[in-house]
Amino acid sequence: MNYDVVIVGMGAAGLQAAIAASRKKAKTLVLGKHEDSALYWAEVENYFGVRRVEGKEMLAIGMEQASSFGAELMEEDVIELAKGDAGFKVVSDSGKEFTAKALVFASGISRKKLKIPGEKELFGKGVSYCSSCDCNFYKNVPVAIVGTGSEAAISAELMTHYASHVYWVAKEMEASDNLRDKALAAGAELVTAEPTEIGGKEKVSSLILANGKSLEVNGVFIELGARSTTDMAMDLGVMPDPEGTIKVDRKCSVGVDGIYACGDITGKPWQVPKAVGEGGIAGAEAATYARGL
């Protein structure tokens, strides 16, 4: 399916971008899971003209608004972005492919820490946050992947090509059937449990689970949430800063033709008013760019 504008992220910034783009008559698709938005669990009291409102309610209304102007909303994560002949190729976690003339990154900031004992102490000594970076160091040894979403599924599949055994530890399953099946078919062993501690002194030796069991592993890959947008942005020539934020100009352009960003991903303050303001600009600019092609 071909779109003028594809927006990655279904929070305040992404939905405002969708409202702005679709009001400019751009054929617009929003991809992402609104429950993953930082706004979902928040209560907002600092937004002009609104006394106090739950984030869930703001998101529900925003989704209705975006749809009413013609934007399509799809609760799927993006797992691949690439430059194509006619703009950009976008692949979702269910395996669907789309094209976009313009892209808007509105996926927020990834909060990747698991916050369990051993994680900080053993970082770089068996704990890793990047399986594609560190896979080569774990040839023929057992590893655990921790995470419930698409990033964990992709990592679990990848590590089956290197490790002697891959435990995929997920207390629940949020990855798409498509990605989950690929990881399991490749040989990853799904362990439905909550990790509570990473064991080891100088190096990782185990992952301890809430059910009392312990997995003997040499590596623990913490891969929470959806595939990192900043990671995918680099495939398109966008360079994030070390904090994982993407710098934008006053038009919310990232400096690459046809790519815009808004919301928490562009940096602090991580506030709804800033996300909405940038979303309005990014959506309108992306629509103008796409329709001008």
Binding site: K125, C133, Y138, K203, G219, M239, P242
Partner: protein, 107 residues
């Protein structure tokens, strides 16, 4: 890459360590996106700390000997040596100011 940064291999690593009082070696690989994010920061630091800190880059894919010797299991890892003695390494992408502050504390 800045002209102030030395590309190192398994063969010339020890010589580099022995001949510079304070050293940072960025252990990296081409496929590692966080490593690519770190590269411009180290370019800037190599200019700003020129004459105080010698910065080298070691591709772990092409030089497995050094990564094995220093038990590197995550990249980027920045190995730091003062007068030939290894200090606490910096693992992962860090903000420029953090790296600079750490190096300055070793001067």
């Amino acid at each position: 890459m800045s002209g102030n940064i030395t590309t190192l291999t398994d063969n010339d690593f020890d010589n580099f360590i022995e001949n510079n009082p304070l050293i940072l070696v960025d252990c990296w690989a081409q496929w590692c996106k966080p490593c690519l994010m770190l590269a411009p920061i180290l370019d800037e630091l190599s200019e700003e700390l020129s004459g105080k800190v010698a910065i080298g880059k070691l591709n772990v894919d092409e030089n497995p000997g050094i990564s094995h010797r220093f038990n590197i299991s995550a990249i980027p890892t920045m190995l730091v040596f003062k007068n030939g003695v290894m200090q606490e390494p910096l693992v992962g992408v860090r903000p420029k100011d953090d790296i600079k502050k750490y190096l300055m504390s070793k001067l």
